[in-house]
Symmetry: C2
């Protein structure tokens, strides 16, 4: 079992697998000494190796770096003599780019399934991973998922987390996350920047921020590099989602400017019902 | 001590005062039987009375209902024979409307100070109050705050919460909260409505929502009536804040549409630094 990329997601996968099976050998690969050493010390990974050295001996390869790194590694894997029954998967936040990169691997008959666990945090780095990160989470799977015995083995390794596995096409995935994940991220970041601009000169400023503001903008503290990569890989879908959002916002502002109390209240009531239904579903 | 309005804020004030002084008599007033009975059972309030009956015997009156109710009660107080040294304050989310309503009281020499604790929750109702709601929170004060002995007594009653008292003008308050509280609220609500529209027909839909989406939209589950009142009372400031937000969003979308990676990354990096500074301040 090779896990390449020992950040929040990769280290959480390692922790989840370790929790379910104390004996499985997990090889970790990451350019960051701190995360790797931390996970070695905690006995979450057994050994640290370079990506290429570990890849040729692995039965399972999990690519858990940023999307750009995943794409590079998929290209590298095509040139390596992998084990014939190796199972390769990734955890990248956009799937069209990755499935396209994986076409040559698939053409060679190598078992690759794209993956994306819907879990995250504003914290990044291997120290912040937790075996609970994927508890009851949706985990998207793209590609050959039926009758894929090695995929079933991988799912078994993560079975402690009660993950809700969800097959989806790459295109449907990228549209869905543009709405559920990328749009909220851009909105939270824009909110922080708007308010920072306006409050910079005021003595009270941001220190008066209460819980509502903090919740709404928590994800704006996330890693800018990772999110920039996501923007560059799902650009059209995110732009489309932004336009939809702006249309809704313009409608609300029109109601506000005309003191249309009934429309304003209906707008709030609808959001409340929808938002409550998410928590109740759990 | 009369607390009128035993919802989240009013009941939390009652709890904070009760925590600091077991013996003080707290009269609660609220049309909702459930909240009142719950707080009586918990011995957080000593007795429940009608507003007018309690107001004439109180040394302190805290108006903790919705803004529209507060305004009506301020009008009612003008007609009552209050104790000569009574101290009256409110907790309404907008201050210009309330300070305007309080002018006749102030003209009669009655000690009124507008107030607004920057704390809240997506939960509403007296059952959800907690003495921790105001811990380290900013609490805005509008009006005569220097050398106001009765205000100092009120602050003493809440001293367990380490509240950060902040004098401000009504106009500056309403602008500040339009950015720190009302804009984030509208944005969260709009996000939920946008996504609900788009995902309604999809089988996966909202159930794939991860922690980031949930955090960002948590406040969208708040009471629509309360928030509609806020919109009707701070309309111009909120509309102005929405326009600023839309300008920032349009700039971001332009960078996205032109694949301007450097601008996108700088936008994320700036928000991260600003957002992190809020948590570090605590």
């Amino acid at each position: 079992m090779l896990i390449s990329g020992l950040g929040l997601i990769g280290s959480s996968i390692a922790r989840t697998i370790r929790d379910g099976d104390r004996k499985i050998e997990i090889i970790g690969s990451d350019p960051d000494d701190d995360s790797a050493q931390f996970l070695l010390d905690q006995q979450i990974i057994n050994i640290r190796k370079s990506f290429e050295e570990a890849a040729i001996m692995a039965d399972f390869i999990v690519l858990a770096g940023p999307v750009s790194v995943i794409v590079g590694q998929i290209h590298a894997l095509q040139r390596l003599s992998l084990k014939p029954d190796v199972f390769i998967t990734d955890v990248g936040s956009t799937k069209k780019t990755i499935m396209k990169a994986a076409q040559p691997l698939l053409a060679k008959g190598i078992n690759f399934v794209g993956g994306h666990p819907m879990a995250g945090s504003d914290k990044s780095g291997g120290r912040f991973g937790t075996p609970n990160l994927f508890k009851n989470a949706i985990y998207f799977l793209v590609g050959k998922t039926q009758t894929n015995r090695k995929l079933a083995d991988y799912q078994q390794l993560l079975s402690k987390s009660m993950i809700r596995w969800q097959p989806i096409t790459a295109a449907a995935h990228d549209q869905l996350v543009s709405e559920l994940s990328h749009l909220p991220h851009v909105v939270a970041v824009t909110l922080v920047n708007t308010i920072t601009d306006s409050l910079d000169e005021k003595s009270i400023g941001l220190k008066a921020a209460a819980g509502g503001f903090k919740d709404t903008t928590r994800i704006a503290a996330s890693d800018p590099t990772m999110w920039t990569t996501i923007m560059m890989n799902n650009t059209e879908q995110i732009s489309r989602a932004l336009s939809q959002f702006q249309q809704h916002l313009a409608k609300f502002q029109a109601a506000l400017d005309t003191h249309d109390e009934a429309t304003i209240k209906a707008f709030f009531a609808r959001a409340r019902a929808s938002r409550k239904s998410i928590d109740e579903r759990k």
